[in-house]
Symmetry: C2
Subunit: 102 residues, 2 copies
Amino acid sequence: MAYDDEEPRNSSMPENVVYVGKKPAMNYVLAVVTQFNNGARNVTIRARGNTISRAVDVAEIARNRFVTDVRAPPKVVIGSEDLTNEDGTKSKVSSIQILLEK
Amino acid sequence: MAYDDEEPRNSSMPENVVYVGKKPAMNYVLAVVTQFNNGARNVTIRARGNTISRAVDVAEIARNRFVTDVRAPPKVVIGSEDLTNEDGTKSKVSSIQILLEK
C-alpha cells in the first residue's frame, strides 16, 4: 500500500483524509476547506480509478481559491491497489493521494 | 506553467513526453515502453482534465508490468492550465505530469 508512509507528522492528530467519489468536485472542496478551518495543518485527498481526475480538480480548486497558504506544489503519490470483484476475482485499480499542508 | 522546471537532466536529449488522450490506456503504455526501449532514461506522461485518471493508469501499468527498473515512486506534479474556449472565454483545467526515470 502506497499510503503507509504518509502519516500526519503529528501522530496524536486524527488523520485528515477526504475520499473523492462521484459527487461534484465542490462537495469535496468544501470538506477540505472545512478541515483546514477546523485547525488541520494538513489534509490528504484520496481517490481511486476514474475519480482520480476529480481529486486533482479538488486539490487545485482548494489551493487556488480557498486555502491559498498551503505549500506548493502539493506532494502527490500514485499507486495501485488490489480490488476483489463481486465474483471473487481480483483486479488492480490506480490510486492517488494528494497532500495539502500548511 | 508547472512543466517548466521538469526538463530532462541531459538537455541535449529530446524531451520524451507522452500525452495521454482518450484512446485506450495500452496505446500510451506502448508509447512509453517504446521510448525506454529506444534508450530514453526518463519519460514524462502528461494529461489534462478527464484523462488524468488514464495517465495514472498508464504510469502504473508501464512501471509494474513493462519497465520495472524505474525509480519508485514516480515524481508527480499537478497544476492548472488556462484554456481558451471556442467562444473566446477562458477556463481552467487541471493537469498532471508523471516522471518515470531509470
